[in-house]
């Protein structure tokens, strides 16, 4: 039920439209931002408040098979953080990996209205779509794993690049996904086929295939650009978590050769030092490269202290973490498509590596010359829960708070970073960029992340408070598509969000190539693999293929 509404007296931060704290009206009708509404339209008096577009999260793990395994295997995570229902909302479980409905409500409480699930194998497409349908409030989509796809590897091996691109387009359609995801490309073959080994160099030969990870990376970056996807290939680099991996990250970014690519949770790939030894910060090397290369965007993947859950399609990474601390561990192989590892984890202030990771993330934020291309994430729940975003915002906005926090950390680690020399403090406008305007732009969502006429009326209103953490913890009002659903911090409705997908055109002939591969190597029938259009309602975001 969308309303006609005028928000008055609020300080508006809408960086896409160059509005930087001006007190001006925001008018809403038919689910959209409009020029004006009749004078007798209902009003929200936002005096003393900050008005921003709804938050947009470019990278979180919120739904699908690995998220659900992480929920299922951690009753201890939910037990002390129940999520009671209200007359308007469903109940659920909280913790680091909340249940689906609770995930939506909790994101919405922070003022977020769009969230992207970051990694799902296409074989589980129906699963993630069903969970996303049950994720309250939010608009959402998901990235489909393609960096370890055996069929695509074979096309690459034979140099059949046209068929490769057609197959990528077929897979995006079949899985109703939003973009291409790469996770430790090439490593699944090492992991599953070569007794749990890993890729260490993007120019090494992938086990059982006559190709290298670099070739996979280049081909998928090109495919995303050629198909004109609204968001480019979304890359979790090789060697994630290992000392010295910044070189791999730089090589991966160079592989894009000027074409658009997004490097995700780049903090985990910004480590100097020697492999096998303690890492040091390479935030400067990474920042310098990104500052100079406008084709590259990234989200940070900030580490926050406390409980987390490492859940990733990077199975060898998970196995490495299990050797850091022998906690319960899940591995899940997906035929021809992916691996997966899950392990509960805790980031602790006194541990050198954890303190360093925390500092590197903040360095990346503070060193970025263009905040539109270095946006906020914790790689929820890998670096910590999304519920840490308010604290992270305070760390960015409040230099004294940052120094005070740093004082309680491992000081050897602090000595290896330049964090304490960085005096920058984020403004409200910059926070609006890294939490909504920037991610919306990077995702190619033209009607999100801003409050200009024609934008989706996803609007968040915060009480302005000196303590930015408290301020961003609970929005006073939140609207989704023009419907007010949080009013004075309480839920008053439960609007249903959309599922966003891309549907690039492809030549049907590619199915004749893929079908026999399925008959031989998959455990499901080719005809049952693509998600039926009747299965779930989605909205197709347009693509702009190169002619």
């Amino acid at each position: 039920m969308s309303t006609t509404l005028r928000i008055v007296n609020g300080k508006v931060y809408d960086p896409i439209n160059n509005v930087d704290g001006a007190v001006q009206d925001v008018c809403i009708q038919g689910g959209k931002i409009v020029e004006s509404v009749p004078g007798d339209a209902p009003k929200i008096d936002a005096h003393g408040m900050v008005v921003m577009p709804g938050g947009v999260d470019i990278h979180s793990h919120i739904a699908g098979p690995k998220v659900n395994l992480a929920r299922k295997f951690q009753p201890e995570d939910h037990r002390y953080d129940p999520h009671p229902g209200t007359p308007f909302t469903r109940s659920g479980a909280g913790g680091i990996v909340p249940s689906t409905f609770a995930t939506g409500y909790r994101f919405a409480t922070l003022g977020y209205t769009t969230v992207m699930e970051a990694a799902v194998p296409p074989l589980s497409a129906r699963h993630v779509l069903e969970e996303l349908e049950d994720t309250a409030i939010l608009d959402k989509g998901y990235y489909v794993l393609m960096g370890n796809n055996s069929f695509l590897h074979r096309m690459l091996e034979k140099g059949r690049m046209e068929e490769f691109r057609e197959a990528v387009a077929w897979w995006l359609n079949a899985s109703k996904a939003y973009t291409i995801k790469l996770v430790n490309p090439g490593a699944d073959e090492q992991w599953k086929g070569d007794k749990n080994s890993n890729i260490t160099d993007i120019d090494q030969k992938i086990h059982s295939f006559d190709i290298t990870p670099r070739k996979v990376i280049k081909a998928l970056i090109d495919a995303a650009n050629d198909l004109g996807l609204p968001h480019p290939a979304h890359i979790h680099c090789n060697n994630l978590g290992h000392s010295g991996n910044y070189k791999t990250t730089l090589e991966t970014m160079r592989t894009a050769e000027g074409r658009k690519a997004h490097i995700t949770h780049i903090q985990f790939n910004s480590y100097g030092g020697e492999p096998g030894k303690n890492p040091i910060s390479a935030a400067k090397e990474i920042s310098d490269f990104i500052n100079d290369n406008p084709n590259i965007s990234a989200d940070v993947g900030q580490v926050m202290f406390g409980e987390s859950v490492s859940m990733t399609a990077d199975a060898p990474l998970s196995w490495m973490l299990r050797h850091v601390k022998e906690r319960k561990w899940i591995n899940c192989d997906t035929e021809c498509e992916s691996g997966c590892g899950i392990i509960p984890f805790e980031y602790q202030q006194h541990i050198y590596t954890h303190a360093l990771q925390w500092a590197i993330g903040l360095e990346l934020f503070l060193m970025a010359k263009d905040p539109w291309r270095m946006v906020l994430s914790t790689d929820h729940p890998n670096g910590g829960s999304f519920m840490n975003y308010p604290k992270l915002i305070r760390l960015l906005m409040d230099r004294d708070f940052r120094k005070q926090e740093a004082a309680g950390l491992n000081q050897k680690a602090m000595a290896k970073t330049s964090l304490l020399d960085l005096d920058k403090e984020f403004s409200f406008s910059e926070i609006a960029i890294v939490t909504r305007a920037g991610p919306a732009k990077l995702l190619g969502l033209k009607d999100k992340g801003h409050l200009g006429v024609g934008a989706d009326a996803d609007v968040t209103i915060y009480d302005e408070q000196e303590n930015r953490e408290e301020m961003f913890k609970t929005a006073r009002y939140v609207l989704k598509d023009g419907q007010l659903f949080i009013k004075n911090h309480e839920f008053c409705a439960d609007p249903v969000g959309r599922i966003l997908q891309v549907a690039p055109e492809y030549d049907k002939k590619i199915e004749d190539e893929i079908r026999p591969f399925f008959d031989n190597y998959y455990s499901v029938q080719f005809d049952n693999y693509p998600v039926f259009d009747t299965h779930v309602e989605t909205e197709v975001v347009p693509t702009y293929p190169l002619q």
């Binding site: 249940s99 129906r126 055996s150 591995n331």
Partner: protein, 447 residues
């Protein structure tokens, strides 16, 4: 509609149909359907169990769509009665779900949340302890296609797929050729561990017979060897297996390229239960120090995996869940259905696509007979026949479209063979939930 006016047999063929009988959820069925008779006459690719599932399904149109105390009533009246029973109960329980689509399961959990009810699936009397093993120690696992493509070592432990999941070996694991298993069966070693020889032993290269109730000890002995330890000779007396055989087994497991341990209720429902399943998961985890090793419970009902999956995403927990505080809590033994019934706690029950009267322990059945029961079932069962309110439903997979989750968590679509005159579980649940919501809003307004 399927009206036949030509007099010719009204036949249709459904390709890539899915069999929902067991957890294999084979999706390569080719069903020949006689639409006049509303019967499936051929089921190409189906195993003996699948054939029985398809051929024996007929629609008895004379059966009432809804009954109260055995008397035929309208669907609306039955929904009203069911809603009244559930809203007025102080401790309603919802049970079953494993022979229902995930779409219906999602509605069922919604109803439990709305009612602040207890909800539990048949997992609690099946692989519930496997879920507890997962919660305790984790689990390395895989989808079935990776077994086909890579596994050169397959162990069936405390399960008998040759009889219970006939196509598990022939279609998914032992027999097929795979990407790195070019010769199929010849490239694989199959080992069966069980308390007695079964049809699965005959298919295996090696059969190891253990004493009943000694699985934990044998698994732990294998862990010790895998971690470089030595065995005490008492293990032979405990398990009935010689140290030489155990050492040979441990050697074989760690020297394969890609191994899998399938297991069944021979572990999850015998002495040790979740200790057994935890030990098995930990053995596989240990083996990953040497090679690649995974486990997979051979799940029973067609969508029991879906019940675990849907409950986990909506509540955070896989089975044994109670909403009476307004949020989900999970406690096996406390909120599992047999335990609640045995303690005489529930005062109303809604049974979805399950037959506890035929399966539960006597004290649980005795209590179930004392309270009002609502039953959803396509066929007459002891539960549906004693229920206060009984809905006749269409059969999932044969009549009802939707999604089910295979034993390896892979969602598989359903392609129904013919229409049923009866509604699906979901088609009853949606108006039932609507009516419950109305009744609850009236009672909360009155309060």
């Amino acid at each position: 509609m399927d009206n036949n006016i030509s007099g010719e047999p009204n036949i249709k063929v459904v390709k890539n149909a899915t069999c929902t009988f067991c957890g294999c959820v084979c999706d390569d069925m080719e069903l020949t359907v006689d639409l006049d008779q509303k019967r499936i006459t051929k089921a190409k690719n189906a195993c003996v169990l699948g054939k029985a599932w398809f051929f024996e399904h007929s629609v008895d149109e004379s059966r009432p769509l809804a009954r109260i105390d055995g008397k035929e009533v309208s669907l609306d009246d039955a929904i009203e009665e069911a809603a009244q029973i559930l809203v007025n109960a102080r401790f309603p329980i919802i049970y079953g779900m494993s022979n229902s689509t995930s779409e219906a399961q999602r509605e069922t959990v919604k109803m439990a949340d709305l009612l602040s009810a207890n909800i539990d699936s048949t997992s609690s009397v099946c692989h519930g302890p496997t879920g507890m093993g997962l919660q305790g120690v984790g689990e390395p696992t895989t989808t079935l296609g990776e077994v086909k493509n890579r596994a050169d070592m397959i162990v069936y432990w405390g399960c008998n797929p040759s009889d219970c999941h006939p196509r598990l070996s022939t279609h998914f694991t032992v027999m097929p050729k795979g990407m790195y298993i070019p010769n199929g069966r010849k490239d694989r070693t199959v080992i069966n561990v069980d308390v007695r020889a079964t049809a699965t032993s005959q298919l295996s290269d090696l059969f190891i017979q253990t004493k009943p109730g000694s699985d934990f000890e044998l698994l732990w002995a294998l862990r010790i060897l895998t971690r470089g330890g030595r065995l005490n000779s008492t293990i032979e007396e405990q398990t009935g297996v010689t140290i030489a055989v155990i050492e040979d087994l441990a050697n074989r497991l760690r020297s394969c390229n890609y191994g899998i341990l399938f297991f069944g209720m021979g572990l999850s429902m015998t002495r040790g239960r979740h200790y057994n399943t935890s030990a098995l998961h930990m053995l596989a985890t240990d083996l990953n120090e040497h090679t690649h090793f995974v486990v997979k419970p051979a799940r029973g009902h067609g969508n029991v995996t879906g019940a675990d999956t849907v409950l986990s995403w909506q509540t955070g927990y896989p089975f044994g869940i109670n909403f009476n505080r307004g949020y989900p809590r999970h406690e096996p033994g406390e909120f599992t259905t047999t335990d609640i019934l045995t303690r005489g706690e529930a005062d109303a029950a809604c049974i979805i696509a399950s037959d506890p009267i035929a399966n539960f322990a006597k004290p649980a059945i005795d209590h179930l007979k004392k309270i009002p029961v609502i039953s959803f079932d396509p066929k007459p069962t002891p539960t549906s026949e004693m229920a206060r309110v009984a809905f006749t439903t269409s059969c999932y997979g044969i009549n009802t479209p939707g999604t089910v989750y295979r034993m390896d968590d892979i969602p598989i679509p359903l392609r129904p063979a013919f229409e049923s005159p009866f509604p699906s579980d979901q088609e009853i649940l949606i108006p039932l939930i609507k009516r419950i919501r109305e009744l609850k809003s009236v009672s909360s307004a009155a309060a």
